[in-house]
Symmetry: C2
Subunit: 255 residues, 2 copies
Amino acid sequence: MVARYERIADELRDDILSGAHPVGSQLPSEAELAGRFAAARGTVRQAVAVLAAEGLVGSRQGARRIVLGRTRSQSFAELHSFAQWARANGYRYGGRVIAQRRRPASGSEPARLGSGEVLEVLRLRSLEDEPVLLERTVYAGWVAAAVESLPADCGSVTEALYESVGLVFAYGEHLIDAVPAGAEDARLLGVRRGSPLLRQRRVTTTHEGRPVESSDDRYRAGSVAFSIRNSIGANPLVREPGDLRFERREHMFES
Amino acid sequence: MVARYERIADELRDDILSGAHPVGSQLPSEAELAGRFAAARGTVRQAVAVLAAEGLVGSRQGARRIVLGRTRSQSFAELHSFAQWARANGYRYGGRVIAQRRRPASGSEPARLGSGEVLEVLRLRSLEDEPVLLERTVYAGWVAAAVESLPADCGSVTEALYESVGLVFAYGEHLIDAVPAGAEDARLLGVRRGSPLLRQRRVTTTHEGRPVESSDDRYRAGSVAFSIRNSIGANPLVREPGDLRFERREHMFES
DNA sequence: TAGGGGAACTTGTACAAACAAGCGAGCACC
DNA sequence: GGTGCTCGCTTGTTTGTACAAGTTCCCCTA
């Protein structure tokens, strides 16, 4: 059973994407929409709040809502799962495990992932048959067995873990910056040493807030970019100082 | 007059940041909070929605809300304005205009900024007395005069434009990727040619959806990172294919 | 002891009503 | 003609109620 406000949001989104409400134009008032959908004003407000969160419309008190754009920001799953993003956009994609080993948690890992043993995985992923992403992931001990049982060329780890053990990556924190390619990065991604890579470090947790993985993902320059739509009200993206907050983490598997 | 739900959100946030609700612990139930703050449940829900949007707490139906972290995602202003971010975090910062000129809009600019004349500005910004950010900004014709009247070493363009003409940067779309430093980038930022830079391309509009500026900002690697907190429900960050969507834009002022 | 059933609790959805606050257009006045 | 003000419209905030849906935990039973 899909919620009422979601169906209203879907319908309004379709109107916007189809051009019935062009970019720059005004949306109907809440009262008008409430009448059209035979819903309470609060329900309509929830619907347009969804569109506002997607960056499609902006609103300010006293004035009608405005259509800001026609490209929709998609879900968290897309951000987290390379495979889901690639498939949703119609790209050929693949991936394979380069190296994998268990070891005791060290450094700041016990604080992030819980103490005990962790599982390190080095994974290379490709888009349109070109290697574009190198993932250095550390999984918490309690999911290690499930990860190890996956095939080496598993396309979507996220989906595989959901199917096999019902694991859902629910929350994440991401840090995005640029780094020069190291020797291993360069060899596996097919670029020169020192060339620019887009790095995404992330920590992911389950619904209950239990840490699942910590990862250092590096994209070949030019292969992907991250897109953020935001409004003055609220948004989740901020700058972080570069050197001050995160201790340098050695490359795994190197030397 | 600050809204009630905002004050409740502030109080709850203080509790979380001060450690009264440790990371991983459960928040009091909505009913309990409603009692404590003598507010309706709906008001409390708005308050915790704010915290959820900031990435501080997560929620799922049927279970108590969980504290996810203690680092707060700040406002859009921080993302947009280098100066506001730097000041809020206690850094020394500066900036100066390297070059500035008017020219007719060309390429895709009429579509993004409106046709007619635009104003190109090349600005170098520093953090802790080190050059860290090179901004290549194109302003729409209707704000050109206001921008030109700013002093060359203006610390915060955003604030200056707000003070002088009441201009508010309300919405923005941002694309983040990594690029190698070009000749000009390298000279001004004091890095070697080809070394990694974190690039943020953005288009900003006013409340009414009127385009204000389009900018290509390049950060020296290691100076800043972008941080995103998100949950599975909704978030504004997505990957974008690298080459397919944006036509290559030539460097301004070069050669 | 292991498992199922269910009750109590908690968050999600929806409706209705009222007032506050900001915007914009039209009107009156100078 | 231009300026300022008022009024209607629209969004923002708050309260209250009711039910739906999911979680957690205890207790009872096999």
